[in-house]
Amino acid sequence: MSDSVRYDDRTPRLFFLAAVVWAVVGMLVGVLIAAMLFMPGLNLAPYLTFGRLRPLHTNAVIFAFCGNIIFAGTYHSMQRLLKTRLFSDVLSRFHFWGWQLLIVGAALALVTGTTQGKEYAELPWILDIVIAVLWVTFAINFFGTIAIRREKHLYVAIWFYIATIVAVAVLHIGNSMVMPYSWFGSYSAYSGVKDALMQWWYGHNAVAFFLTTPFLGLMYYYLPKAADRPVFSYRLSIMHFWSLVFVYIWAGPHHLHYSAVPEWASTLGMLFSLILWMPSWGGMVNGFFTLRGAWHKLREDPILKFMVVAVTYYGMSTFEGPMMSIKSVNAVSHFTDWTIGHVHAGALGWNAFLSFGILYWVVPRLWKTELYSKTLATAHFWVSTIGLILYQVSMWVAGITQWGMWRAFEPDGRLVYPDFIETVIRIVPLYWVRLVAALLFFSGLLLLVWNVVKTIKSAPADYAVEPEVSAPPLVRDLAAPGAVTPANTYDHALYRLQHSLRHGVHRALEARTISFTVLVVLALAVGSLVEAIPMFFNKANVKEIASVKPYTPLEVVGRDIYIREGCYNCHSQLVRPFRFETERYGEYSKAGEYVYDHPFQWGSKRTGPDLHRVGGKYPSLWHVRHMARPNSTTPGSVMPRYPHLLTDRFDTSLVASKMRALRAVGVPYTDGDIDAAAAAMDGQAKAITAEVEAQQGPQGLADKEITALTAYLQRLGTDIRWKRPPQQPAFAPPAVPVAAAGQVGPAR
C-alpha cells in the first residue's frame, strides 16, 4: 500500500455545482408561489398551479439543493477527515448522475400531478424506489470509504453523517409503504390516523436528519476550517450528538396536537421536543464558542458572516420549535403562516446560509483559485439577511393576525369574521412583504451564482489534477510491545481492550464503525417503536365508528383528483376541538372517521378553509362554479381556477385496480363492489349532474372530473351525524300578517 492518497475532488465539485443550479430553480419556484398566494391569476392550470408547484418548491430546495450540498460536503470533507480517497469512482458517478436525473423526474412527476399526497414525500412509488437505490449507493460509497480509511478515529462530522444515512433510509422506507395500482399511482399502506403519525414521524425527522444532522456535520468541518479555530468542546460534541439522535425521533407527533391522533402520542411529541432544546443548542454552542478568538475576523470575512448567521438562526429555530410544540402555543401557530415563517427561518437562515458560507469557502479551494469578489459576497450576505428577517417577521405577523381573526367572537356568540376570505384578504399586505423578502433572498443567490461562475472561470488549467496527500495506511492489529503471544489469547484480548479504552469508551467507539452505527440504529429505534407499536396494535387508539363506510368508486376517483391537484397544500381536513373551529366548520374530527383514508389529507396549512365538514354544506352546483371560477362564489378568493375539471373526463379504466389496491391495504370492498363499480359510478354521477342541471347549471358533466371531485367533497365529514351546539336563543319569527297568511303555500 502506498503511503499517499489522491482525493477525488471531481465528485464534490460536481455536487456543489448541481447544488447551485437547483438552488436557483427551487428558490425561483418559491418566489413564484409566494406571488401566486395573492395573485391567483399567475396560476396556469392544469400544470402550473400552487397545489402542484408548492411540492415542487419544497422538494427542490430540500432534496435537490440541500441534498446536493450534503453529498458534496460529505464527499469533500470525509476524504480529508479519513485521509483516503472515496471508495468507488463508479459509485460516485452513478450517485451524482442518478440523483440529478431523479430530480428531473421528480419535477416532471409533480407538475403533472403525479403525487402520493403526503408532504415532503410526494414522489410516486417508482421514484421512491429510485431514491432508495441511490441512497444505498451513497451508503455503500460512504461506509466503503470509512472501511478504507487511514485515520483510526471518526471525527464528530462523520458521526453526524452516519446518523443521517441510517435515519433517512429508515424514514424513507417506513413512510413510503404503499400499495401501487399503476406505474405511478399508489395508496398509502397506512390509513387515517396511523398515516398521519407515520407521515409526521417522517416529516419531522426529515427536518432532523436531512436538514439538521448532515448540516451539523458540515458545520463541524467547515466552521473551524473557515475560522481557523479549534472546536470548543469534544465532550459537548458527544453529549449533544447522542442526545440529539435519541430524542429527535420522538418529537414528530407535535405536528398533530388537538387532532384525532391520541393525546398520549402528541403529549410525548411535545415533551421530547422540549427535551430536544439542549441537544439542539449543543451544536449552536459548539459553533459559537469555536469562534472565540476569531470574532474580529467577522468584520472582514463574508464566509464567517454567513456561518455565524447560520448558527444564530439554527439556535433561534431550535428554540422556536420546542416553543411551538407546546400544546397551547401550537393551538395558535398550527395551520397559520407562523409555521411557514418557522420553516423558512430554519431552511433559509440555517441551511441556505451555511451552504452559502461553505460554497464561498470551498469553491476557490476546489478550483485552486481565489474568490472572484469578496465585495459581491458581502453584498449577497446583506441582501439575503434583510430578506430573511423580513420573511420571518411578515409570517409571524400574518400567522398571529389570522389566528386572532379565526377565533374572534362577538358577545352574542357569532364569529366576528364568519367569511374565511376576510381573514385571507387581511394578510395580503403581509404576503406582499414576504414576496419582497423572497425577491431579496433570491437576488442574493444570483450574486452568488455570478461570483461562483467568475471564480471558476479564473481557475488554472490544471485545477483538476487531484491533490496527493501523505497518509500511511492504518496498522490494524495492535500487538503489545515485545509480545510474542498469539493474537487470540485471553491476555492479548484484554490488552487490546485496555489499549482501546485508554482515552475513554467513546474514543474507543469512534474506532469501531459497526458498533457505532448499531448504537445509532438503537437510539433511533426506541422512540420510533414506542410511538408506533401502540398505534398499530392497540385498537383503543382509533375508536371504530359503525356509520363510517368506504368511499364509493366515484368518490375514490374524486379523491384522487383532490390529491392530484394538491388541495391539501392549502386546505386542511381536520377540525380541532376548539369552539372557534366547531362554530365555523362543524363537529370536531374523530379518529374513526378517517379509517378509509389512504393517504390521510389533514394538511398542515390553511390558506383556505378546512374542508372536513364541507360535505352537504353547499349545493353541488356551487362546487362546479367554484372550481371553474372561485371568484364567482367567493369574491376575493385567491384560489386558482380549475377549468379543466369541467372539460376533462375522469378516468374509469383504473377504478378496479384502485379498489383492489385499497382492499389490499384494508378497505373492505367486496368482489361485488368492484364488479359493480362502473354502474355505481354512473349512477352517482348522474344523480349529481341531475341536481346541477336542475339548478340551471352546465349540462353534460356526468363523465367529467368535476363530478367525481364534487362527489368526494359532498361526502366529506358526513358519515357521522352531528349538530351544532345551541348558542343563541331561537330567533322568534315576526308574526305573519293575517292578510298574507292565506296566500302562503304549506311550509316544508
Binding site: L81, K83, H153, Y155, P224, P230, V231, F232, S233, Y234, R235, S243, W264, T267, L271, L274, I275, M278, P279, W281, G282, E410, P411, D412, G413, R414, P418, D419, P577, F578, R579, T582, Y618, P619, W622, R625, S632, T634, P635, Q695, Q696, G697, P725, Q727, Q728, P729, F731, A732, P733, P734, A735, V736, P737, A739, A740, Q743, V744, G745, A747, R748
Partner: protein, 195 residues
C-alpha cells in the same frame, strides 16, 4: 463568560478539538427540560381521561353558552316586526346595508341581482318557502339546510339580517336580466307603506 482551559485533545486534518466542559447554563436547560417533562408526564398520566382535549373543549363550549346566554338576558334579541321590515324597504340607509350584505353572502347562490342561480330567483312573485317578509326572515335566519340554504342567523348580525330582508323585499318585480324561471307558490307582495 467562564474561562476555559482550552486543552487540545485531538487534531485531524488541521482541525483541533478542545476538551472544554459543557457550559453550566446549557446543562441547566437539559436537566430542567427533563425534570419538567417527567413531572408533566406523571401529572398527565394521573389525570388520564380527565383534563384531556375533549373535556377542555366541552368546558369551553359550556362556558361560552353561559356567557352568550347572559348576554342575551341582558340584551334580549328583539325580532323586527313585519312593519319595520317593510318600512326598511324604502329607507336608503337600510337598503345600502342590505345590498352590501347581499353581495357578500347571498349573491354567490342567488345571483348578483337576485335573479336566481344555484338558489331560486328572489325577484319574482313565486316563493318556495313563503314570501311574506316574516317568512323570508325565517328562511334566512334558520335556513333550509337540506336544500343547500345555510342558516344565517348564527352568522349575520341581527340588524344586517333585517336589512337583508328589507333589501330582498325591495327587489320584488325588479325583473333582472337572465332571471331563473319562477318556482314555488304565488304570493302577492305585502305593500310597502307610503309607496
Amino acid at each position: 463568560m467562564a474561562e476555559y482551559e482550552d486543552k487540545v485533545l485531538h487534531e485531524l486534518d488541521g482541525i483541533k478539538e478542545y476538551d472544554n466542559p459543557m457550559p453550566g447554563w446549557l446543562m441547566a436547560i437539559w436537566w430542567g427540560s427533563l425534570i419538567f417533562s417527567a413531572a408533566y408526564l406523571i401529572f398527565y398520566a394521573l389525570s388520564f381521561g380527565e383534563g384531556s382535549m375533549e373535556s377542555e373543549y366541552r368546558a369551553e363550549a359550556q362556558q361560552a353558552l353561559t356567557e352568550v346566554q347572559a348576554h342575551f338576558d341582558a340584551n334580549p334579541l328583539v325580532p323586527p316586526t313585519p312593519a319595520e321590515l317593510l318600512a326598511g324597504a324604502k329607507d336608503p340607509a337600510v337598503l345600502e346595508k342590505g345590498a352590501a350584505r347581499f353581495a357578500r353572502t347571498c349573491a354567490s347562490c342567488h345571483g348578483e341581482k337576485a335573479q336566481g342561480l344555484i338558489g331560486p330567483n328572489l325577484t319574482d312573485d313565486r316563493w318556495i318557502h313563503g314570501g311574506s317578509v316574516g317568512q323570508i326572515f325565517q328562511s334566512v335566519a334558520k335556513g333550509w339546510p337540506a336544500k343547500g340554504m345555510p342558516p344565517w342567523g348564527r352568522v349575520v348580525k341581527p340588524e344586517e339580517l333585517s336589512a337583508l330582508v328589507s333589501y330582498v323585499r325591495s327587489l320584488q318585480g325588479s325583473n333582472p336580466p337572465s332571471a331563473k324561471p319562477a318556482e314555488g307558490e304565488p304570493f302577492a307582495p305585502e305593500p310597502i307603506p307610503g309607496s
